[in-house]
């Protein structure tokens, strides 16, 4: 993930945008529940979560389309909570693009510049430059309906960028594109945003999209912020049960956390075996989450070994994904780089050396 240009900083210097305890209710539903978040200048941050988690509402609060019921929004050190959208001047790309159907491509892109009463020649130049930037040069006189979905998406982006916004807001802008186009477009988007040095707040439910684009990701669930971090942090060290389950493939096992003499912490799985952990969590019933690549096949019969039988396997190029049927804990996913056991074979499963074992209090336990 570190091959992209630009920096992935977190928490250096004064934030350009800061959300403090934002609350937004619709009737009895709390769509955004005390959301606090900071964006650094030039950062690409994504709000990630399942549909209905409040991410779009949060973005609309930042844009100024929704007034929060509580909390403040600070931009470049100024409280902008009460500002209306046009005063904020954030560029926004809408999910359905929201291109003006009665205006042609150039008029769409020029819209914000005309609102700012820019001289005619300047508007013309900047429109052409904006269209060139999104690889649509010379298409200014086209009707927006005559464009393909991908082109419309670029016009929407060009229109938002033409006003040179200090902050760019993107609401699932790729959801109406087909898979291949989506992948190419998001690479272009990240390169463009980084090249222009724009701070961007992006909303998506697509984890892969978030990982591809973002410097940092904020995972939301049920209106609440669950964790903020770089993609790698979220993947390697999820601090919340929801994040662990939502980001990447993972196995969930149940057990009891026990502290033994000498400070050694072990999980006694309900299925029998005991796995050793790094010290930290409180003893008691727990849920253990392990990524498929953190499990490995071991000899059956040891104290560590969880018995199972290979149910199916999928060759995925760099590695093979095994589906192991353990009678006690259902189907577990295990990744192996070597060609290992075959279908129907009995195996033992244990944590790989140095594996990340993520322990959370069992559901229902205090």
């Amino acid at each position: 993930m570190s091959s992209s240009p630009g920096s992935r900083r977190s928490g250096a210097g004064a934030p350009i945008l800061s959300l403090q305890g934002l609350v937004k209710r619709f009737g009895t539903v709390t769509a955004v529940d005390h959301l606090s978040l900071e964006l650094q200048e030039g950062e690409f941050l994504t709000l990630l979560g399942p549909s209905g988690c409040g991410k779009t509402t949060a973005l609309r609060v930042v844009a100024g389309f929704e007034r929060p019921d509580a909390g403040t929004l600070t931009f470049q050190g100024e409280d902008v909570t009460e500002w209306n959208p046009q005063r904020r001047g954030f560029g926004m790309v809408f999910q359905n693009y929201a291109l003006f159907p009665h205006l042609d491509v150039a008029e769409n892109v020029a819209f914000g510049l005309k609102s700012r009463r820019r001289p005619r020649e300047e508007i013309g130049e900047r429109v052409e430059a904006a269209l060139e930037r999104v690889s649509l040069p010379g298409l200014g006189s086209r009707a927006v309906q005559a464009l393909s979905g991908g082109q419309q998406q670029r016009v929407a982006l060009a229109r938002a960028l033409a006003i040179e916004p200090p902050l760019l807001l993107l609401d699932e802008p790729f959801s109406n594109l087909d898979a291949a186009l989506r992948e190419r477009t998001r690479t272009e988007l990240r390169l463009l945003v980084k090249e222009l040095g724009i701070t961007a707040l992006f909303v998506t439910h697509d984890q892969e999209e978030a990982f591809d684009l973002s410097d940092r990701i904020a995972v939301m669930d049920g209106g609440k912020l669950r964790q903020v971090g770089t993609p790698e942090e979220l993947y390697r060290n999820p601090t919340h049960r929801f994040v662990a389950g939502f980001v990447g493939r993972i196995n969930a096992l149940e057990g009891v956390l026990e502290e033994e003499r000498g400070g050694v912490v072990r999980v006694r799985l309900d299925a029998g075996p005991r796995w050793t952990l790094a010290p930290g969590p409180e003893p008691g019933p727990c849920e253990l989450l392990v990524r498929p690549e953190d499990l490995t096949f071991v000899e059956a019969g040891t104290a560590e070994s969880l018995p199972g039988r290979i149910r199916d396997r999928r060759f995925l190029g760099a590695y093979t994904l095994y589906f192991v049927d353990t009678e006690t804990t259902g189907i577990l996913e295990v990744v192996s780089r070597e060609s290992g056991p075959v279908e129907g074979e009995a195996v033992g499963i244990a944590p790989a050396p140095g594996a990340g074992l993520h322990v959370f209090p069992a559901v229902g336990a205090s």
């Binding site: 779009t56 609309r60 209306n84 959208p85 929201a98 159907p101 229109r159 006003i163």
Partner: protein, 562 residues
């Protein structure tokens, strides 16, 4: 995401309050006033007038007459309109497009004009009547164009269009694969028609039926001209008013309004209930060429015959408009033709004055309607505020109120000068008719504007805001241009409707500002049929012109929107 739109409280309120106040004053208040008056006798509460209404044979006869004429109109219009919709949507034959367009012709006859065209055709001394009399060698006319059957004939002619248009639209929307599925499951052609196709069309058919029922409850011209001794509520209200029996007129108005409002409620409930649009992608309608040899001859023949019949009133009107005064007495066809009637349109102020009056009053009322309809449509569709439901109701309410009811309400309320009670003397002045036209046409234009607002996504306005446009600029550069085609079409329709308006005019007009329809009536009373017809032709031509221009403009608008 269709989250509720943010209401920047103050501006919404400042905009909504004046419009709400205006509509409460002009729409709600006069009707409540009539309701109140119907219970008062010399300032004392009494049910006497109602007791009188529900015990008087002639009043009950009028109520019953209105109801059965309306039921009959629904039945007859449906029997004509539904088969025609099937014919033109399902089958292909030479000239289909032309006939399909001509089938909507009755729309191009303002109420009173259509009725007098029928008079010239089927009346006692009408062209068709005398032809039949001569051919059969009869002593007296073969029929008399009078009473219930005459009203039903006119209604069926002018109202089948609702069934034709609604069912055609329903058929066009319908997923043909549902019928194909029925065939594949072994259902025959008739079983498919009655068990699948017609039930799927039920929403269109029911909506058309309710509309025809309401229109015919409100119908005044046909019963007024052809009624003879036949009583319906609208004509009963008119004669009570003219005879000075005001309390009876109030009660009759309340009864008529109640029936109409009940049907509005029914219609709304029904529309909310069901909509069978195609669920999946489906298969569109496929037009079949006619199969058998007989149908290939008979169907186009029937189509030509039908369209000729539809065109007869228009042709008759045009023909009679060339007849100078006194040149058509006992002959089948008039003996002399000249341009006299059209010349006097330009020369005789008695004739052209009403045309100018109508143009002026229609223009003023339409301008008012456009402004109020645009703003209230914006408020109802885009804003959330207290009183939004009330606003939506007040805007649609006049649509359900017969013109007679509107006129009685206005003439009752605005006949006294009591500024503290919101009452001013408008009766007997120029302003009463533009006001009546304004109220009657508001729903039409507001619905068109609402539909246009609903068609474009609110995110367009948000996009404009995010690009730095304020509220006013967004309205000017985004909302208004996008709503304009719908608004313009509605406005043009309102204009021509006001131009030919008759039902409220007859209760409210003053001699100096009399509209075209009233002049047609007085020429008719003076037996100057030619002059009446010439005025009718002027109305029809203006209407056709507006539809032609409007249609083109609308199509252009649709193309721009993809």
């Amino acid at each position: 995401m269709s989250a509720p739109r943010e209401a920047p409280g103050k501006r919404t309120l400042w905009m909504a309050l004046p419009i709400l106040a205006l509509l409460v004053w002009l729409v709600l208040y006069p009707n409540l006033f009539v309701l109140g008056e119907s219970f008062l006798e010399d300032g004392v509460f009494t049910l006497e007038a109602y007791r009188h209404f529900f015990t008087s044979p002639s009043e009950l006869e009028a109520l019953w007459g209105s109801v059965w004429i309306s039921l009959g109109s629904v039945l007859l219009s449906g029997m004509v309109g539904i088969p025609m919709a099937f014919l033109f949507t399902r089958f292909d034959f030479p000239g289909r497009n032309v006939f399909a367009a001509l089938a909507a012709l009755p729309v191009l006859l303002p109420p009173l004009v259509g009725v007098i065209a029928f008079l010239f055709l089927f009346g006692e001394s009408g062209i068709l009547t005398r032809t039949v009399q001569l051919v059969l060698g009869l002593e007296s006319p073969p029929w008399r164009m009078i009473g219930g059957p005459a009203i039903l004939l006119v209604h069926a002619y002018s109202m089948y269009v609702y069934f034709y248009l609604f069912v055609s639209a329903g058929l066009a929307r319908m997923d043909e694969s549902a019928a194909e599925a029925a065939w594949s499951l072994g259902a025959g052609r008739w079983r498919t028609l009655f068990r699948v196709t017609l039930p799927m069309l039920a929403p269109s058919i029911v909506a058309a039926a309710l509309l025809v029922f309401m229109t015919s409850m409100a119908s005044f011209s046909a019963p007024y001209i052809f009624g003879g001794g036949f009583r319906v509520l609208t004509t009963q209200i008119y004669s009570s008013k003219v005879n000075g029996e005001l309390s009876m007129a109030m009660v009759e108005t309340v009864v008529l309004a109640s029936v109409s409002l009940a049907f509005l409620a029914l219609l709304r409930r029904y529309e909310r209930g069901r909509e069978y649009a195609a669920v999946g992608k489906g298969v569109g309608q496929i037009r079949r060429p006619l199969q058998s040899r007989w149908s290939r001859i008979l169907v186009p023949l029937a189509a030509v015959g039908g369209v000729t019949f539809l065109l007869l009133p228009h042709a008759t009107l045009l023909l009679v408009s060339f007849v100078p005064e006194g040149a058509w007495t006992v002959q089948i066809l008039p003996t002399r033709y000249s341009l006299d009637n059209y010349r006097s349109l330009a020369a005789d102020p008695r004739i052209w004055r009403p045309v100018m009056n109508s143009l002026q009053m229609a223009g003023i009322s339409t301008l008012g309607v456009l402004i109020v309809a645009f703003l209230s449509a914006y408020l109802v569709v885009r804003r959330r505020f207290r009183g939004r439901g009330l606003l939506a109701l007040l805007v649609i309410l006049p649509w359900a109120l017969p013109g007679t009811v509107v006129a009685i309400a206005l003439s009752t309320t605005f006949s006294v000068n009591a500024p503290w009670f919101g009452r001013f003397v408008l009766v007997g002045t120029f302003w009463i008719l533009p006001l009546a036209y304004f109220i009657r046409n508001l729903p039409l234009v507001a619905e068109a504007a609402k539909a246009s607002f609903r068609q474009f996504d609110p995110s367009l306005e948000e996009a404009a805001h995010s690009l730095g446009a304020g509220w006013g600029e967004t309205m000017r550069r985004i909302a208004f241009p996008l709503v304009l085609p719908g608004l313009a079409a509605g406005g043009m329709l309102a204009f021509v409707t006001a131009l030919g308006e008759f039902v409220s005019s007859i209760l409210l007009y003053t001699h100096t500002s009399r509209p075209i329809s009233i002049e047609i009536l007085s020429q008719l009373r003076a037996f100057d049929f030619g002059a009446a017809a010439a005025l009718g032709v002027v109305l029809v031509v203006l209407m056709a012109l507006v539809f032609a221009v409007g249609g083109r403009y609308l199509r252009a608008g649709r193309v721009a929107r993809g």
